[in-house]
Symmetry: C2
Subunit: 408 residues, 2 copies
């Protein structure tokens, strides 16, 4: 019962894993709610996540105005710095002692961690550790990943903005590719090692303006090179400008990546492949079909393009950050905050919390009902799932032609 | 004297060469001015430029409202389609007869052609042909190229928007790269085979917000791999997140491209190079320095990202299209319209016309005074030249989360 009561003390917040266009919006949400909470005296920021803490980097004391919070929300990447650090399995490890030392010295009673799968593992381990040691620290995870592959939540903060950038860019590339009459194949490589959520977003222009890629291949289904070549030939028979979107993680039936990693030798086509799957397929089409072909890798741009962020995503990301603080004040710990889509005609979400133990280290893939029977496009059900997530445009503060960003 | 008088008749307009974010704004300008001119009854659009005409594709009769013109201005790529077609040197060629047939049938007295270097060659040849044959056709070129490499004009329509997208994206990538503490080199490959104007735009965030790439290498100066590696090592000694921008066209002192073209064999490092210069330098750094390294090719995105177009560029592109019609009505022919920067503290341009014969088939490179002594960055003079060109944001019409585009 005592756990339900608020504890007076300080809070600490950190960011971890790959940057997104929305991870700072969740940070802004945590800071805003923490600043407003009478139970929390100071909100501290970890520099470079738990790695910074265990390495002895002092946290920073944060006080931000509403104007600064808004600017933080429209700033890409992790304003506090990030890390890829897994806490040890062994609770007697020195690392936990270092964390305890910081928590004591800064009187930390609330711990907020914004990140993806690995970061939720940190939330899980740290809350287990505190339970075991009887430490009164409330540990809450705030999800973030452009990959949208966390279970327990309808979607992840950061996905909507990445999907929007992909939809905008694919539409622009389709316009560009349509200007010539000479047959040409364009292959757009999109992030997503294990789940095809981002590549699926390439279909969105088709649902909105009617211009769409010819095919979309996701890692959820085995990629067959002869079917792919037949697909391309069929498309070239009907129009000259063939555009294809592929997840970087597509694999053959045996599970081998179609684009082998740098210096890992030859890919499944026997090419010395110095790049990703887009380049591998470019070479395949050039060799087997012989028409003009190019590949475009959206690369980091899809995760940091906050100049074109989804307003829906940024607002939800702020809200989920605020909700994390409310949940912690309400006595919750060992939780990840989640979006639950309302069961209504018009899109809306509730924010709930789920036990982080059920979430960490798992992957939510694109379900079968979202992929067509030929495994080369997505279904309307998938479109309807994605459409509301890219809606609205984040107001950007422009300064001499480029967005103004926040830095600590 | 009779040439100074307006001729009653119809006008035709075409687009040629690679798409940009601003080529449709110039098209909108031509259409707007032609629709307003009492001397011009109809304005026709070539489909796929002169190639469409010589192949017998019928032009389309264009009537657009101001709302449609505005939407056209914010649509990337060439709404009329494009071509890469050089008119023959031989004026007795069948192609000219085909063009004459179209001009007669549609009573064409004004010919506007929006494009780059090769397109100005078309303007030049066609106006020479008309002069020789005594045909009363006024032929005016409207420049367009993201490469900014046309002589006779302060800058080219399309360059400002591409430079703005590069500046926005480089700033976002810099934020993304700054989140980790582990040493990593990021190489951004930017378009520009013969001139470094686009790569130079990577420096703009540094002048505005203070975050800048460590180095920028342009094709105007020989690229020395050992100097490059020394540059990288020096940067890694001062901070972990090293970011470099390179023009795709950088060459060694003997003029060999650092990144050899696809399937052209080995590059200057002896690598089997399946890609561009970014990938070649990525491999070099991995082999010679051994830290984490990635390359990012901005690819088509830099020429079609009209969602982030420069308002200055789009407005100027409309104006230069309108001016082309005024010049033709005023009796001019065999001209390319040009920007002349006003000699004032505050940025402004006049639009003038220059003889196209002095412009076609030449390349304007980045001058020495715009490049630093170490050949690895640009000077403040270059920054001051570029800064006004990226200013202002084109209002985008959004529809369900992506920009609405115009199509004929």
């Amino acid at each position: 019962m005592s756990d339900k009561l608020s504890i007076l003390g300080n809070a600490i917040v950190g960011q971890s894993g790959g940057p997104t266009a929305a991870i700072n919006a969740s940070l802004a949400g945590v800071i805003r709610a923490a600043q407003a909470a009478p139970e929390i005296e100071h909100i501290y920021g970890m520099k470079n996540g738990v790695e910074g803490l265990v390495k002895g980097v002092e946290p920073i004391n944060i006080t931000l105005s509403e104007t600064q919070l808004k600017l933080l929300s429209s700033t890409p990447a992790s304003a506090l710095g990030s890390c890829r650090h897994k806490l040890p399995e062994d609770f007697d490890s020195e690392e936990y002692k270092k964390l305890e030392e910081v928590f004591d010295r800064y009187n930390i009673k609330y711990f907020f961690y914004i990140g993806g799968n690995d970061s939720m593992d940190t939330v899980h381990k740290l809350s287990e550790y505190c339970k075991l040691k009887g430490r009164k620290l409330r540990v809450i995870g705030v999800p973030k990943t452009i990959d949208n592959d966390l279970i327990g939540t309808d979607h992840t903060p950061g996905y909507g903005s990445a999907a929007k950038f992909i939809a905008i860019t694919v539409q622009e590339v389709l316009r560009d590719c349509a200007v010539y009459t000479r047959p040409a194949v364009t292959i757009i490589e999109i992030m997503g090692r294990d789940a095809g959520w981002l590549a699926a977003a390439a279909a969105l222009p088709g649902a909105i303006s009617g211009v769409a890629p010819d095919y979309i291949y996701l890692p959820e289904k085995p990629f067959d090179t002869s079917s792919f070549l037949n697909d391309i030939k069929a498309a070239l028979n009907s129009h000259p400008d063939v555009v294809v979107a592929v997840s970087e993680g597509i694999r053959d039936a045996e599970g081998n990546y179609i684009g082998a990693a740098l210096h890992k030798g030859k890919d499944v086509f026997g090419n010395v492949n110095l790049s990703g799957v887009g380049k591998a397929l470019e070479l395949l089409v050039k060799e087997q079909i012989g028409c003009k072909v190019r590949s475009i890798e959206l690369n980091l741009l899809q995760r940091c393009a906050s100049h074109a962020a989804s307003l829906t995503d940024i607002c939800e990301s702020e809200r989920i950050g605020e909700s994390a603080v409310k949940a912690a004040l309400n006595g919750e710990t060992a939780k990840m905050m989640c979006f639950k889509r309302k069961d209504e005609t018009e899109y809306g979400i509730d924010i709930i919390s789920n036990d982080v133990i059920n979430i960490a280290n798992q992957t939510k893939t694109v379900p079968d009902s979202y992929i067509n029977d030929c495994n080369n496009y997505i279904t309307d059900e998938c479109i309807n799932y994605m459409l509301p997530l890219i809606k609205g445009e984040l107001p950007v503060v422009w300064e001499n032609g480029i967005p103004k960003h926040f830095t600590f």
